[in-house]
């Protein structure tokens, strides 16, 4: 199946946050559980992603070459082409579907939180009891239920500024690149497409009007090296060590049994 992707044109976003509301409405997320709305000196609200907030608009005050800008970034799961969260998940709750969606099955999750710590973008969030560790991880699934039934993700469907698009990834990449060229022609010299090749190519492509760092995006996100080392080298080596120890003990037991008798021991 062709890989699907979301194209987010941040030059079009007006920060109306309709996507946040639609996301909560469709995915049954609470509005207030982690942060009550309060005036904290910014239009940005809520202040961070949470188990109940899978997407939100991040506001950045940016002093660019052509003066002051407000940069808006629709945060959420990147649906990486090479997702570290899926690799480290010990339960199989996180999966990469054949259409590229990185999905999370809450019934399988045991709340270990590895995904929250190995994600290069710090996206999955844990709803957990700190003492007992009981809880669930959660994140944006690109509205898997809607998408597999031929509908658009809730946020894309609702976006009044037409900043969001969703479909075949190659088509989205082509649209994004064309949009970047158009923006450059109109004087947005720093326009760029983020997510083309990062971490196996992201399923969430951003058309940005300033460098990624200005939005708070990692300029060069990497699949965590320690995850590869841990899973591809240390874990298999551990199994080999257990096997060798058990074989060694059995061998020693057999040799010892032939040579030493209990009665002879003082």
């Amino acid at each position: 199946m062709a890989r699907l992707a979301m194209l987010i044109d941040e030059s079009q976003c007006t920060a109306c946050r309709g996507c946040q509301v639609a996301c909560k409405q469709w995915n049954d997320r609470e509005g207030w559980l982690y942060s009550r709305t309060r005036n904290w000196g910014s239009y940005e609200n809520p202040p961070d992603l949470s188990p109940q907030t899978w997407t939100r608009i991040k506001f950045t005050e940016y002093e660019g070459p052509d003066g002051f800008h407000w940069l808006f970034l629709k945060e959420g799961c990147m649906h990486c082409g090479n997702p570290a969260c899926v690799a480290v998940c010990p339960t199989g709750a996180l999966k990469q579907q054949s259409n590229g969606l990185v999905t999370l099955e809450p019934e399988l999750c045991n709340g270990c939180g590895y995904c929250t710590q190995f994600c290069p973008f710090h996206i999955p969030r844990l709803e957990t009891d700190v003492l007992t560790g009981q809880g669930k991880s959660s994140k944006c699934t690109f509205c898997q239920d809607r998408v597999t039934n031929g509908l658009l993700p809730a946020c894309v469907k609702t976006c009044p500024a037409k900043a969001l698009d969703f479909g075949d990834r190659e088509e989205m990449v082509a649209k994004g690149l064309a949009r970047v060229e158009a923006l450059k022609a109109r004087g947005f010299t720093q326009a760029n497409l983020y997510g083309l090749n990062e971490v196996g190519g992201l399923g969430r492509l951003y058309v940005l009007v300033a460098p990624p760092e200005a939005y708070g995006l990692p300029a060069n996100p990497q699949y965590p090296a320690l995850a590869s080392f841990w899973q591809k080298i240390v874990q298999p080596l551990g199994s080999v060590a257990f096997g060798a120890t058990i074989v060694g003990i059995l061998g020693a037991f057999l040799i010892t049994r032939r040579n030493i008798r209990m009665e002879e021991v003082r």
Binding site: N110, T116, Q117, L226, A227, I260
Partner: protein, 241 residues
């Protein structure tokens, strides 16, 4: 303490000398009783083939057991240190490696596999193998403690990079200590030369004769132990072994 055992052939007299305190023995068994469930519940997240046990409610249960056992595992040495600090420090000192451990390594195959006592130079209260076991467990305890607390309470406080290192080091400590535990279990339970180990860990005493034979440096003192060992070697050489 002297106990007379009457077997079929003859009566043997065993003289017992103290080796472990009550707290040490209870601590040892509580350590075992927490280590084994910790290893089992931890491996649920470690081995991919155990994935069904890690899922959903089962996984949450195992993670809860892991934390409960971790509290016991972590607190035991602290209790030991508080109530018997001299014994605690003495034992740790005895676990420290020394030059003579190379002699143990050289003699170990002949001693453990073929029962050749003369191959083994005199050992202290703990022989080099027991010292290795003790050291691995102590280092693993420290690593488990630091990385475990970091994974338990550090999410969102410590940096993700630190958490990743913690997961890796926790696994490495687990691999080393579980391998060590398996060898320790085999030697204590199934090795014919080590029969006194379980006795002393249950009752706190060891046979004087056993101590003289297997822990001569402890029983006689280092100088006398070496004299006896050398004399025995000369004896063996003269009789043509």
């Amino acid at each position: 303490m002297t106990v007379q055992l009457r077997g079929r052939a003859e009566a043997i007299t065993i003289q017992w000398i103290p080796k472990y305190t009550l707290l040490e023995r209870v601590g040892h068994w509580l350590h075992t009783a927490s280590f084994v469930p910790l290893a089992i519940t931890g491996m649920v997240l470690y081995f991919p083939f155990l994935q069904p046990l890690a899922q959903g409610a089962a996984g949450e249960f195992f993670r809860l057991v892991h934390r409960a056992a971790a509290v016991i595992f972590g607190v035991l040495p602290v209790i030991y240190f508080i109530f018997q600090p001299r014994r605690f420090i003495m034992n740790i000192r005895e676990f420290l490696p020394s030059k003579e451990d190379i002699g143990w390594l050289r003699g170990a195959p002949a001693y453990y596999l073929f029962g050749r006592h003369e191959a083994m130079p005199p050992q202290g209260r703990f022989n080099a193998g027991e010292k290795l076991n003790g050291l691995v467990m102590i280092i693993a305890w420290v690593i488990f403690g630091i990385t475990g607390l970091l994974m338990w309470f550090g999410k969102g406080i410590a940096s993700p990079e630190l958490f990743r290192w913690a997961v890796l080091l926790h696994d490495l400590a687990m691999i080393a200590s579980v391998c060590m535990f398996l060898v320790h279990l085999y030697l204590a339970v199934a090795h014919p030369l080590m029969w006194a180990a379980l006795v002393s860990m249950r009752f706190g005493v060891t046979s004087a004769e056993y101590a003289a034979e297997h822990h001569a440096k402890w029983y006689y003192g280092p100088k006398r132990a070496m004299e006896i060992y050398e004399a025995r070697k000369r004896e063996a050489a003269r009789s043509g072994h």
